[in-house]
């Protein structure tokens, strides 16, 4: 009896030790990666990075100004298509389809769509737009990213609307406000900080996507403002520079990676702050 209980306590301590050890084993390298990225990026970042276009091979200097503008254009396109659809689908799930078969099916499909590899989105956008137009374009990249934004935004919008107390909706309906106005002026307005941060999260996620842009936006070494022409994008440029053999380009890739990560860190932190609040404030 004593022996067996001694063994049980030994096993208990062993497993506790293993769990702590594995956490340390995971956290330390991951923090090291993050630290290394910040260190390398910060030592490579300078003003020219934000103001210059890429320099020709062999010349020092240059920046990624055109890639950042291109990323901005593609993301603006993607958001203008993906955000309204995503929010509307989330409104349907939370306000109309809650508990119905169709609502369950939409929710499930959104979760599955979320797990489809980004490269498949790239191929789909290529097959749909680029093959028909016979040239790469900023627009096709925007479509690929918009499709990727929809499921994330739908699910966060739904979650955030579910945190709005029913009493507020009932108060509005009780005053004779029609349902559509209740949804817009009461539910959506109350949940708006959470929904906005959800959109930022989706935005940050697709901002770092490279695979869907490889054969849609394609990349460009120069300034480009037109939607039906190949355009540069920050993650694409990082990829091209990372696999190039030039040290100067490697430096720019690190700087670009830091800019991307900072953007993502800010949005993830904001989401965390809002999600942590539970029931959202608002409704001013």
């Amino acid at each position: 009896m004593r022996l067996s209980s001694a063994r049980r306590y030994a096993v208990n301590h062993l497993v506790t030790g293993l769990a702590v050890l594995s956490t340390v084993l995971v956290i330390v390298p991951l923090v090291a990666i993050l630290g290394y990225l910040i260190y390398k990026g910060a030592s490579s970042l300078n003003l020219a990075f934000f103001t210059h276009i890429p320099a020709p091979v062999g010349e020092p200097g240059g920046g990624m100004a055109n890639a950042m503008l291109g990323s901005g254009i593609i993301l603006a396109l993607a958001s203008s298509m993906g955000v309204p659809v995503g929010i509307a689908a989330g409104v349907y799930l939370a306000e109309y389809g809650w508990g119905t078969m169709l609502g369950m099916a939409v929710r499930f499909t959104a979760d599955v769509l979320n797990g489809i590899p980004s490269i498949v989105m790239g191929i789909a956008a290529y097959s749909l737009i680029v093959m028909r137009q016979m040239h790469f374009s900023a627009f096709s990249g925007g479509v690929a990213l918009a499709i990727m934004m929809v499921p994330t935004i739908t699910r966060t919008t739904e979650e955030m609307l579910m945190t709005v107390p029913h009493a507020i909706r009932e108060a509005a309906l009780g005053l004779g406000v029609p349902k559509w106005r209740t949804v817009i002026s009461v539910s959506l307005r109350t949940a708006s900080p959470g929904i906005i941060t959800g959109c930022m999260l989706a935005f940050a996620r697709v901002a770092g996507e490279t695979a869907p842009l490889l054969f849609t936006a394609f990349g460009n070494q120069f300034w480009s403002f037109k939607l039906n022409e190949p355009i540069a994008a920050l993650p694409l440029q990082i990829y091209v520079y990372a696999i190039s053999p030039y040290d100067e380009w490697h430096r720019l890739a690190w700087a670009g990676a830091l800019v991307l990560i900072l953007m993502i860190m800010v949005s993830v932190t904001l989401v965390r702050i809002y999600a942590g609040r539970g029931v959202l404030k608002g409704a001013s």
């Binding site: 594995s22 991951l30 993050l34 509307a88 499930f108 599955v112 499709i147 695979a211 990372a242």
Partner: protein, 363 residues
């Protein structure tokens, strides 16, 4: 710790509780208001509020239109999935009719003669994903157990925040790190060590350039670790506290409590989380493309350069010249699409079965 669950914060129309001093006559009128959203009291002129609201368009037309627009947007999610499927099938018809299902069993990949088969890429995808899972799952389980059962309250929030942050780092950035840090380590330190101690297994033969199956698996493992551990933690936290208390009350040690009270209840969801990680690993593109070596070969050695379904598309699509070449690559994309849909559907169903009712998160 209270054994009772807190009341749902957002309970719907059920049982409106009235203040004690409210006249009971008012109660039916209030319920009617809520249910019908139309005034029942018809006496006298409408109040200014109601007049104002009526002037703002109180028609059933607006309500119906709004609901229809929301429904269309929700249905568009179905449409997107169906649409991707149709277009991928349509654009890969050339290769589908030329090679049939044998496409996935042939190991030829010769763009010059137009002879294509996807077997090397299927092998590469399976090998890297399964190796990555083998490395990541035990560690992720340990992290989840630590976070949900052992962790002091003060540490829990920063650590889970960190894992969320790491799950959000883009693939291309992990790839960048792998190219400049992991590949040299693999080539100069870890590789020779593996040859020295595990060379007899035959898995570590041939030249070691630092890039290859093993390097790709390691970066994949690093990328899926945060995802698996955070979902597993959520699932373990969804196990009711009463289960833990019951097992502890029987005199179990903490590990016995975790094993019988938590892991046994959460095992379906944990399997779901692992499959979700597998789905992520199967489709991971950029980081793998950057370190796998990109060579369509089936080799027993883990140092050998290889290619996965996703990385061959990323690497060769823009160079594909003949329409058969493009068609074959799109068919690979189609296969990837179908496989990840099945894998994700299974995983989601399993995770839902356990955490139903618990708040979902964005992953």
């Amino acid at each position: 710790m209270s054994l009772e669950r807190e009341p749902e914060p957002s309970s719907p129309l059920t049982a409106p509780t009235l203040p004690m001093d409210a006249a009971p006559i008012h109660a039916p009128a209030i319920i009617n208001f809520v249910a019908a959203a139309e005034p029942v009291v018809a006496e006298g002129p409408p109040s200014p509020i109601r007049q104002y609201l009526r002037a703002r368009g109180n028609g059933g037309l607006a309500d119906g239109t709004f609901a229809a627009v929301m429904l269309v947007c929700a249905l568009s999610i179905f449409a997107i999935v169906l649409f991707i499927l149709t277009i991928l099938i349509a654009r890969s018809r050339l290769s589908l009719s030329q090679f049939g299902l044998g496409f996935f069993l042939r190991s030829a990949w010769n763009p010059v003669t137009g002879d294509f088969g996807a077997l090397p890429f299927i092998y590469g995808t399976l090998a890297t994903s399964l190796l990555a899972l083998a490395m990541a799952v035990p560690l992720a389980l340990g992290v989840a157990i630590f976070l949900s059962e052992l962790c002091p309250e003060r540490l829990r929030s920063p650590i889970s925040f960190l894992t969320e942050l790491l799950a959000a780092i883009p693939s291309v950035v992990y790839g960048l790190w792998a190219v400049f840090v992991l590949v040299p380590i693999m080539r100069d330190q870890l590789g020779p060590l593996l040859v020295k101690y595990l060379g007899w297994t035959g898995f570590f033969e041939g030249a070691n350039f630092g890039v290859g199956l093993l390097t790709a698996s390691i970066i994949l493992a690093i990328m899926i670790l945060p995802i698996i551990s955070s979902i597993t933690r959520d699932i373990m936290l969804a196990v009711p506290v009463s289960q833990r208390e019951a097992v502890l009350a029987l005199g179990a040690t903490r590990w016995e409590m975790i094993r019988t009270g938590v892991l046994r209840n959460a095992r379906i969801g944990i399997v779901g989380a692992v499959i979700l990680g597998l789905g992520r690993a199967l489709g991971e593109t950029m980081a793998v493309t950057m370190v796998i070596g990109n060579h369509p070969d089936i080799s027993k050695s883990l140092f050998a350069p290889a290619n996965t379904l996703a990385s061959v598309i990323a690497g060769e699509f823009s160079e594909a010249t003949s329409s058969m070449y493009i068609s074959a690559l799109i068919e690979i994309g189609l296969a990837l699409f179908l496989v990840t849909i099945v894998v994700n559907a299974i995983a989601r169903a399993l995770v839902w079965a356990v955490t139903r009712g618990a708040p979902a998160r964005v992953h």
